[in-house]
Amino acid sequence: MDLKDLREKAAADFKANGFPTTKDEQWRFTDVSRVANTEFSTEWTAASVDFEPLSKIVLVFENGKLSRKKSSFDELPKGVCIGSILDLVDPRIGTLADSQSAFVSSNTACFSDGAFIEVPEGVQMDTPIHLVYLADAEGVALHLRNFISAGKGSAVTVIEEYIGQENATYWTNAVTEVFVADEGSVDHYKVQCESASSFHFQTLETHLGTNAIFSNHTVTLGSVLGRNDIRGKLAGEGGEAICNGLYLLKDKQHFDTHIFMDHAVPKCNSHELYKGILDDKAWAVFCGRILVQKDAQETDAIQSNANLLLSRGAKVNTLPQLEIYADDVKCTHGATIGELNETALYYLQTRGIDPIKGHAMLTFAFANEVLDEVKCKTAKTYIEGLVHDWLENASI
């Protein structure tokens, strides 16, 4: 299907299905009527939002459009192709992200721009690729579409970062499709620091080949209402998917994380560690679905979701969903909602550390565990800083 047909089909799908409601099982706890009932414009304006480039290779999107002036991606390893998705169309676009979801179909129908990254066979990129999405336009919908393809035996690190101007009300609707070929490796980060009154939705679709590795870390701090749909298909033996994430929510923020890990073939691993710290009247939803298909013997799937509530008004719905059709599998899941460990606090105290500092250390540690598997030093340092700043202002 060419892009035009794809867009038309998606527009038709969107028209037919509309936005989900809380009657849909997958949207039970997340009411998107505030998005559905708003008329968003698509008028383009330049953005004046500060950001810090985390790499020499950086693509900056201003209110949904690539800014060549702010970007820099000239010096690339041989064969690596990076640019605007509008210029570098690939027939695989739209093959992973299925149009059934209203957010995906409206994105496919409307996307205004996005990043295209193709790393050819055998090329291991040391320099991370920083994708920056700046937003400050009032009342607009920003449909961003990214495509990442890592060839056989290649390796690439991509940091997607969404930054919004404080108090701007807009709707980010992003879709990222990731293809990891056999023996390939994609180290992916998503940092969401949208405006506190924005809506942020993203669907991340990943397809992994034989012995492919996909590592994903999401950090969510922004948006008043939002959701990450993270979907991985382990389609080749020996594949490994790591999906870790952290959501730090306050005020009346509502954020939903839906993960779907599809073990289609034998001998794959998937690890998911998600943690949340909730203050004020924040509300988090976590749903981790793991499907182990009939042939997917020797699957090793671990999932855990832990939440720390800093205030009585905060709320969490956590729902593990395991569907296992193979018999030789190792599958574990666990979910907790709680307060800080008093024994650990006492232990710190017996070493001279006062309870206020101890609380701060333990809260940071709780969050920081999610970053244990972060391979990219730049991303780690940056994210740790964000977590630190957030905690400075939280009620601990």
Partner: protein, 252 residues
């Protein structure tokens, strides 16, 4: 002056009286051993001294360095020079041992009005203390006690004690879970820390530890009371005879 003076100490846990009148005085430079059957209140005593709020002192008095410690919270007692090596050290995910040690050392130094150690000075201190208690670098880099073996945790406790240089070290069954070589390392570490102005309270079930860390006094704790005190030879006779006679005597 005594380092610590415990007078007629009574304490409860979850409203259950556990300590029923403990009297014990440790002078600087002395090593006291406490032995006693399971559940007799040894860990309770160490927790009451360390300031665990789950343990409630119901009567008596504890003077540390001549001052009543009633109003001191656990971290203030630590800063004042009390150190408890836990029977069950706590695992803390997400905080590296190094970071934890630096926070602890600097918290104690701050309380004592000393300058904070910067990164270099801290690393020098680590190297210096590694000579007292050998500890693998990977254990220092890992999260506090997380996934440490039983013996590694105990070694880490003693390493922390070496780093914090307390006036009083309370060792709650530090020997349990240690293999023979590790026991020697830990005991050598404690012996290296023995000094005329430092005291130790060593809780153990086994004479073996006391072969290495030779105590000045041995006390037998049964049902929340010290029923017998003596020199190091008391531990030997306990090894032979057990606690049966004391337990019976108390029961009778």
């Amino acid at each position: 002056m005594a380092l610590i003076e415990i007078k007629d100490l009574h304490a409860s846990v979850a409203d259950k009286p556990i300590l029923k009148g403990i009297n014990l005085t440790i002078k600087p430079g002395e090593v006291h051993a406490i032995m006693g059957p399971n559940g007799s209140g040894k860990s309770t005593l160490s927790n009451v001294l360390a300031g665990n709020e789950a343990y409630v002192k119901t009567a008596g008095q504890v003077l540390f360095d001549g001052k009543d410690i009633d109003d001191l919270a656990a971290h203030e007692r630590a800063c004042a020079g009390m150190f408890l090596a836990f029977q069950y050290p706590v695992e803390i995910a997400g905080i590296s041992n190094m970071y934890f040690l630096k926070a602890a050392v600097n918290a104690v130094r701050k309380y004592q009005g000393k300058d904070q150690l910067d990164a270099m000075e801290f690393l020098d201190l680590i190297e210096e203390k590694k000579k007292v208690v050998q500890i693998r670098d990977d254990l220092l880099a890992r999260a506090v006690n997380s996934g440490f073996s039983g013996g590694e945790k105990k070694r880490n406790e003693i390493f922390q004690m070496a780093m914090l240089e307390p006036k009083l070290g309370i060792l709650d069954e530090t020997d349990s879970g240690l293999d023979i070589d590790a026991l020697r390392v830990v005991a050598d570490g404690v012996n290296a820390l023995r000094s005329p102005d430092r005291g130790f309270l060593v809780i153990t079930h086994y004479q073996r530890l006391l072969d290495y860390i030779v105590p000045d006094f041995v006390h037998v704790l049964v049902d929340g009371q010290i029923v017998k005190s003596g020199g190091k030879e008391l531990a030997l006779s306990l090894e032979d005879e057990g606690y049966a006679s004391w337990v019976e005597e108390k029961g009778a």
